[in-house]
């Protein structure tokens, strides 16, 4: 092969090889496209307090879905009943803790306001629990959920102390910290968290903050939104609509 022929062939070969490589790349990229990419999501939950009827089905569903112990003491999510009386006194109680006992209902005559507030892990953007973990077992994922590595957790309870919302508990079987994960195993497959799934009045709204079409973004647009303990700068991703000033 003389030099002239070699150069002539090279003129064709180089762009052809480039094209071929591109086809190959496309062919390999396709199966990857359907895969879940956490960088494209940021999960949050909206709670419409005016819709919550305090039926407690979310607590039960959460326990079934996530293997939470049945005792009322352990909860990934719970519902608080607020009773504000005419004399200004406020009582807060978890409806789960009352289960089985006859419900001590407040006398209707001296109630000023009363309502239910569902609570769960706020999946903070600045999570205090992550800061205090001495072994780095808890961490926020790219899609905004704070997870606990149960294999790395040493069960020291620092995070349980640090959480300003009381969202964590020590799982009595694994002896590690446990908390709401927004049902991470469900949401990455496109399902709703179990509590949102069973809520009969749609008081809980789940969605992706990065998608303008999600129900949560619409919810935050259509309602006046508060978060719990905003002065702590934890930047929670659980948004409450019509939150009463007494709720802490």
């Amino acid at each position: 092969m003389d030099r002239r022929k070699f150069l002539k062939n090279a003129i064709w070969f180089i762009p052809a090889a480039g094209l071929f490589r591109r086809f190959l790349k496309d062919a390999y990229a396709k199966p990857g496209n359907g895969r879940y990419d956490p960088n494209h999501h940021l999960y949050g939950m909206g709670i419409d307090i005016d819709k919550c009827i305090g039926c407690g089905l979310c607590i039960e569903a959460c326990k079934k879905e996530n293997n939470v112990p049945k005792e009322p003491f352990f909860c990934r999510t719970w519902v608080e009943r607020y009773v504000i009386r005419k004399d200004g006194s406020v009582t807060v109680e978890s409806i789960e803790a009352q289960k089985g006992k006859p419900r001590a209902k407040p006398e209707e005559t001296d109630i000023l306001r009363s309502f239910f507030v569902p609570k769960l892990c706020n999946q903070c953007a600045n999570p205090p629990c992550v800061q205090v973990c001495p072994v780095g077992a808890t961490f926020p994922t790219e899609d905004g959920v704070v997870l606990v590595d149960s294999k790395r957790c040493i069960g020291c309870r620092y995070c349980i102390q640090a959480c300003p919302y009381g969202a964590r508990y020590l799982h009595p079987e694994t002896r590690t910290a446990d908390k709401c994960t927004f049902c991470y195993h469900r949401v990455v497959k496109g399902l709703l968290p179990a509590c949102v799934e069973v809520c009969p009045t749609q008081a809980r709204v789940f969605g992706d903050l990065k998608s303008m079409a999600s129900r949560l973004v619409r919810f935050t647009r259509m309602n006046k939104i508060h978060v719990l303990k905003p002065h702590l700068n934890t930047e929670p991703k659980v948004y409450y609509a019509d939150l009463d000033g007494e709720v802490r």
Partner: protein, 250 residues
């Protein structure tokens, strides 16, 4: 340079040696941590990745609202237009992923009065306007599904015949063991009673034998407490001691 040497000279010999040892230790730690140890050993991404994988691999228990309609189209269509349209099937029927994988395992279908009252029992903390009942007074003993279809619940038309006027008696009777016995079982009501209630009155039982039809020893009713008519308070009529609209439980 001379000055520097002077400063060094001033430091005692043993401190100088100690400084050298400390410097060696520091360089050793730094080289091991940043140059010798592979970055994968200190990288948090790997254990985080494995946590995410473990979390993702967990079992799904609730199948989700969209799948049930594929097989149960009738119920889904009915529910879609009713007051329960916002409910997911699994709210009442319980987790159904097992049922999808193996249709032989049936999810639960609550039939009694215990389940519906989770949402519909009166509670002052519930939002105003949410349909609530007092489970003690609202047709006791009867299952909710006998009047309200759970897939398409409508506020049922209450039969208000006698209770329209005799509301007090009706509400006492609803909490009594006689709750399910209709007024007309004991009272014969002439049609004219509804037009001229004071002049045409319904009948009342007059004899001990009337109560004995259920409560007598010979009666074959299983659920009524039994007495011997011959020996049980033979000088008195039954309603002189027992109030028929709310007889005490035995």
């Amino acid at each position: 340079m001379e000055k520097m040497k002077g400063v060094l000279e001033k430091i005692p010999e043993q401190i100088r040696r100690l400084l050298i040892v400390i410097a060696v230790i520091i360089t050793g730690v730094v080289t091991v941590r940043y140059f010798i140890l592979p970055s994968s050993l200190t990288d948090r991404r790997f254990h985080r990745e494995s946590t995410v994988q473990r979390e993702t691999a967990k079992n799904i228990v609730f199948a989700g609202a969209s799948v049930c309609g594929a097989c149960h189209a009738d119920q889904a269509a009915k529910k879609k237009i009713g007051y329960h349209k916002t409910l997911s099937c699994e709210t009442c029927h319980g987790p159904a992923q097992v049922h999808i994988e193996n249709p032989a395992t049936k999810p639960t279908a609550p039939r009694g009065r215990e389940f519906c009252v989770f949402c519909h029992a009166f509670d002052p903390s519930r939002p105003t306007g949410f349909p609530q009942i007092n489970p003690v007074l609202h047709n006791p003993i009867k299952a909710c599904v006998t009047c309200h279809h759970p897939h398409d619940p409508v506020p049922s038309e209450t039969p208000r015949e006698c209770s329209a006027c005799h509301a007090q008696i009706a509400s006492i009777k609803t909490v009594s063991p006689h709750a399910l016995i209709g007024c007309t079982s004991c009272h014969t009501v002439p049609a004219k009673h509804k037009i001229t209630p004071r002049s045409v009155k319904p009948t009342k039982p007059e004899t001990r034998e009337f109560c004995g039809k259920c409560h007598g020893k010979e009666s074959d009713r299983k659920d009524a407490p039994k007495i011997d008519l011959a020996t049980h308070g033979e000088r008195f009529l039954c309603w002189e001691c027992h109030y028929p609209h709310r007889p005490e439980r035995m």
